[in-house]
């Protein structure tokens, strides 16, 4: 996963010429009829039914506009930027990208998006309290990534989707989410008439989109503590798990998106943590109108659901309103007044024998963030290894796609660690792995060799971060 959109763009700029070069390199070999000698030793096995469903969902996610304004799910959840968008990534997009439809479609110029807030802060306009007063009733939210959904959506009270847990119409499930997204974000006009301004996804399409989204990222939670090797990340993990100090694990069990306050898992739960009370929120420093976001339900109760933390370090900005840019800042939020005076913070304080909420000093904040950087890098390495290994078993077109994704994940791993000044030796191995993946992408004959070497470099990097269990 990528640390920022700018770096994502760098990754794309790196990959694109390599791909072009690869295409040029292939031509003479095609003419000579020796294509595929290196790694197409046999035809790939036929995909099973679930794999077919996921593949269909992937195609819909990135290509289907549902007869709307040109946006796809991938417009706001691009694979090349960890399935989210941020200002740096947005800055790399061409003017006619459908993300900017409010800038060039007259019917959507007013009350559909706020282009200024979109470009500067990555914020999207949502009408979660109704469409009857578009000028005044709206909220501005960031785009959550869609990684690890299999671990984060379920709760005993039903599925929790979107930032406030109530993002989907119908039965409120992840499967139904796409229907609401099409109505909110894909429409050609503000009339939002099905069959005119868009078409609604069919049942089969909803099945496929759900299957694809559930296939993304982690399929299970970590089991903490990890046997970390880095001194600071190790201390950060200890603080994270200490229910009298960091208290992080109460609401982010195993750095995931479920809560356990001592009485058993609550699944994905909603809390009012006071993010809306933060002073100097970036979007509110502008002259733009940014109404208070009341969160869950209509009218809202001020709560938002729990995002997973494993994927956090490379998918900021953070919180529902993109209020904080860095992972260190996001951890520091819990040491501040906005959190400690919130219903959640006050409850923690009340439950604490010393009567304190969360009090961390600068070194401790950085340590927790270092821990989150390392678990994120480990997840990126896991994903890279999966992609690289899968690339050795598939057809050439699919192989390129997997290698390009592995390149981005590898770059993310290195940047996330380097951004925190962590594990320079591992970073060097990851950079080597990145170079090898780039070679594999460009190579006609030595894809397998470069890929296998990249796998070894990834494994070396991982071994520097954590002891094998």
């Amino acid at each position: 996963m990528m640390l920022t959109g700018t770096q994502g763009a760098l990754g794309r700029r790196l990959v694109a010429p390599l791909r072009a070069a690869a295409a040029v390199m292939w031509v003479p070999w095609v003419l000579l009829g020796v294509v595929g000698l290196s790694s197409c030793k046999s035809a790939p096995p036929p995909p099973d039914r679930q794999a077919q469903l996921v593949a269909k969902g992937r195609d819909l996610f990135f290509n289907e506009t549902f007869a709307g304004n040109g946006r796809t799910c991938g417009t706001c959840h691009p694979a090349e930027n960890n399935f989210t968008i941020d200002p740096a990534f947005i800055a790399t997009l061409p003017k006619d990208n459908p993300l900017f439809v409010a800038e060039f479609n007259p019917a959507l110029r007013e009350n559909f998006e706020n282009p200024a807030l979109m470009r500067e802060f990555g914020l999207i306009r949502e009408n979660l309290d109704g469409f009857d007063d578009l000028t005044n009733k709206f909220v501005m939210r960031g785009v959550p990534h869609v990684l690890g959904l299999r671990t984060s959506v379920a709760s005993p009270g039903g599925p929790r989707t979107g930032w406030s847990g109530d993002g989907a119409p119908g039965d409120g499930s992840l499967r139904s989410f796409a229907t609401g997204a099409v109505i909110q974000h894909f429409t050609k006009t503000l009339n939002r008439v099905p069959g005119v301004d868009f078409r609604l996804p069919t049942d089969e399409e909803l099945d496929a989109l759900e299957a694809f989204q559930l296939s993304l990222g982690r399929q299970q939670d970590l089991v903490l503590p990890l046997k970390l090797k880095g001194t600071v990340p190790k201390r950060g993990q200890a603080i994270f798990l200490d229910n009298r100090l960091g208290k992080c694990n109460l609401c982010h069990v195993n750095a995931g998106a479920t809560a356990n306050l001592g009485g058993g898992s609550l699944g994905n739960a909603n809390f009012n943590t006071g993010v809306e009370d933060l002073p100097d929120q970036p979007a509110r420093l502008t002259a733009q109108r940014v109404p208070r976001d009341d969160g869950f339900r209509t009218p809202g109760d001020g709560t938002f659901n729990i995002p997973p933390l494993v994927e956090a370090a490379d998918s900021g900005p953070f919180f529902h309103n993109n209020a904080i840019e860095t992972i260190e800042g996001a951890v520091a939020f819990y040491d501040g007044d906005a959190f400690n005076n919130s219903p959640a913070g006050r409850a923690l304080k009340k439950a604490d024998p010393r009567g304190v909420g969360i009090e961390l000093d600068g070194t401790q904040i950085v340590a927790v963030a270092a821990f989150l950087r390392v678990v994120n890098a480990l997840e990126n390495i896991r994903e890279s290894l999966t992609l690289l290994e899968a690339s050795l078993k598939v057809s050439s077109t699919e192989r390129q796609r997997l290698l390009e994704r592995a390149a981005r994940e590898t770059a993310d791993s290195a940047r996330v660690l380097a951004g925190g000044g962590l594990h320079p030796e591992a970073v060097a191995h990851l950079q080597d792995a990145g170079r090898l993946v780039a070679k594999a992408i460009a190579s006609g004959f030595f894809k397998r060799k470069h890929t296998e070497e990249a796998i070894r470099e990834q494994q070396k990097a991982r071994a520097l971060l954590v002891e094998s269990s």
Binding site: D129, G157, P169, G170, N191, V193, P194, D203, G263, A351
Partner: protein
Amino acid sequence: MNVRVFVLGVVGISALLLGGPRAASAQKTTEQFIPVGQSPGLSGKHTVIGTVQAVNARDHTVTIAGPAGTRSAKVTERTRIWLDRSRMQQPNVKGTFADLRTGVTVEMKHEDPTGASAGGPAEWIKIQIGTSS
């Protein structure tokens, strides 16, 4: 001892921390634009689709005749009523209790589907406009 007190305290305040009810909460706002019979995961499973058989203005109840028999519901101040004008290629808009007339096609969702047979409160009702009935 302190840790135990802390854990118990945290358990005790979990209800305070947790916002919202213990049930899936769907987004109601985009639901307005979904035509009768197309609500994902709900239509045909947890809603009643049929024609309005009776409206009782005094009790604020509506009786709907559907394929599986008749179902009644109480229309409360929480009940959202929408006019589904998608067949006329017009935007769906909010409706009122007065829009519930005998013979119109509607889709209705009870707040608590398990209490549907007892005529519990309706969460939302979509009234299809542009049908011949």
